[in-house]
Amino acid sequence: MASSILIKNEARLGLKLVAPAIGIIGLLVIYPIFFNVYLSFFDVQLNGSKTFIGLDNYSDLLANPRYYHSIGVSIIYLLGTVIGTTVLGLAAAVLMNQEFHFRNIARGLILLPYFAPVISVVFGWQFIFDPVNGIYNHVVVDVLHLTDTRENLIGNPDSALFVVILFDIWKHFPIAYLLLLAKLQSVPKDLYEAAAIDGQNAWGRFWHVTLPELKFVIATVVLLRIIWNLNRFEDVYLLAPNVETLPIFTYYQAFAGIVDQGGAAAISVIQLLVLVGLIWLYVRKVLKW
């Protein structure tokens, strides 16, 4: 049959074309995921030597207060950043959907934080909060006289967490804004006109028209932010290495001080399970590929 040959040829070509990409992904993502599980049962050195220790990595981890502390820090970080980026993104989308002068320039400018490399903005943020020269301390101490002492907000892990959250909101609200604005522009105008005729004011129109229309996209934004921020490393570590979210705790376990690569593998296994659950939710509920 000619058609079955065609189908076979198409299948062969398809496999050939995906082979390099899928091969690399299989070797360097799928295999490492399982290798990671394997490593989590060993005491692993940086030079590669391994000793089987069964479940010790897990029991050590569950008895380690630093682990629970970093889970707590991660939860605060996630709550702050997810709520912050979504709310600011929504506000920015509603604002940028209005007509005003220089709108295109404003729309471009608010994307800057998202596009800028983390490394080239963290030092600017550190300077803003610098105890000696920073504008933050200048405003709080010298202008507003809220306190008498200049604080090193980033030097203290407790306050640094909030600087990190603010930084993350600043850096990532534009992607939430882009997703929400795209949807907002497709909301039919007559819905607003109908609501206006019903006597709704601006707030009522936002509440009864905008929000219900955006519900689905907002859910997407929230879920995506949780997935990305659960693994976020650079933005936190480079700004304030003393804020120990889970990824940073893992990094310290694996590569700093007393190296415990097996322990780090165990943390990653647990975290991956959580992540898989979230991704499953995302693929089921949100995406069609």
Partner: protein, 321 residues
């Protein structure tokens, strides 16, 4: 959004909000620019406008500073003046007083970063375009498994893989040489960019009408030729956007660079080198800020070039960020 005219008060509120939002977004950039142009005595000055324009930081980073006067103690100078000493010995003595510790090899780090980002971008975009075409257009076994697998993979963050990938590289022996380390890093950047590149390109290829390929194949083109002659040229803007996206991911990467390149200082990338510079020395705000500006510039240019397609490409897939 509304047809009716705004009252003056509403206008004032609107513009105030817009200006506050824009200021919030650009203030850190203004701060970086301002500090990079300030003389150290001016750092405590809260105004963003420098009292005196101070370009030394840029000059130093770009290698435009005149070589520093060599400060040699008198006793050593006497030794140097001694004609009995060979030129080689004299040079060795001199080198001790002109150690290169102070010079931050910005150009080298920039070149390292550019090279690995560029190669990552090219290879990733190429491999992804092949795979994305197959997934978008052809029918083959395990197709939907692969399509969904890619999505899954693209959400598994690098942090979860750093231990196994490092151990694999040690086991294979790549981590023990500079070239092997760079190869490892390049492969890691590939997997960090491939899934998202495949996803963006796959979505784009689906928007191209199939009838175009069909017509080409009627005219005697093979499938591969149709892909090469019809689909790829039509996708140029998206290919460029995907390239930029991959380039920037590699340009920004810190985690794996810090794991793999720590002991190979000559091959370090900008994020790693800047972080090392910042933590190892005090009071170098002007140089750090100038370096930040210079690191920022190529990315801003890239995104200005790609912005039109990027905003769409990003939102379609709810891309990483």
């Amino acid at each position: 959004m509304m047809m009716n005219k705004r009252t003056p008060i509403q206008s004032v509120i609107l513009y105030t909000l817009v200006i506050s939002l824009v200021l919030f977004c650009v203030f850190p950039f203004l701060q970086i620019l301002s500090t990079s142009l300030k003389h150290p005595i001016d750092w405590g000055n809260p105004s963003l406008i420098p009292r005196v324009l101070h370009l030394d930081a840029y000059k130093e980073l770009l290698g435009l500073m005149p070589a520093k006067e060599i400060d040699v103690p008198a006793s050593v100078q006497r030794l140097l003046d001694n004609p009995a000493l060979s030129a080689e010995k004299k040079q060795m003595l001199l080198d001790k007083f002109t150690s290169n510790d102070e010079v931050f090899a910005f150009g080298r780090y920039m070149l390292n970063t550019f090279t690995i980002s560029f190669v990552t971008g090219i290879v990733s975009t190429f491999l992804a375009s092949l795979a994305a075409y197959a997934i978008a257009r052809l029918r083959f076994p395990a197709q939907s498994l692969m399509a969904n697998g890619v999505l899954f993979v693209y959400m598994v963050g690098g942090v979860l893989l750093m231990v196994p990938l490092y151990q694999m590289s040690v086991t294979v022996g790549l981590a023990s040489s500079a070239s092997g380390t760079i190869l490892s890093l390049f492969l890691i950047y590939l997997i960090q960019t491939l899934p998202v590149a495949m996803y963006m390109l796959g979505n784009y290829f689906r928007t191209i009408p199939f009838s175009l390929e069909e017509a080409a194949m009627m005219d005697g083109c093979s499938r591969v030729e149709a892909f090469w002659r019809i689909i790829l040229p039509l996708s140029k803007p998206m290919l460029f956007t995907v390239f930029i996206y991959c380039f920037v991911i590699a340009w920004n990467e810190y985690l794996f660079a810090s794991v793999f390149l720590k002991q190979y200082q000559d091959f370090q990338t900008l994020p790693l080198a800047l972080q090392t510079l910042f933590t190892s020395k005090n009071a170098i705000w002007d140089r750090i800020m100038a370096a930040s500006m210079l690191t920022l510039l190529p990315v801003i240019i890239c995104f200005m070039l790609a912005n039109k397609h990027l905003s769409g490409g990003l939102t379609d897939g709810g891309v990483k960020g």
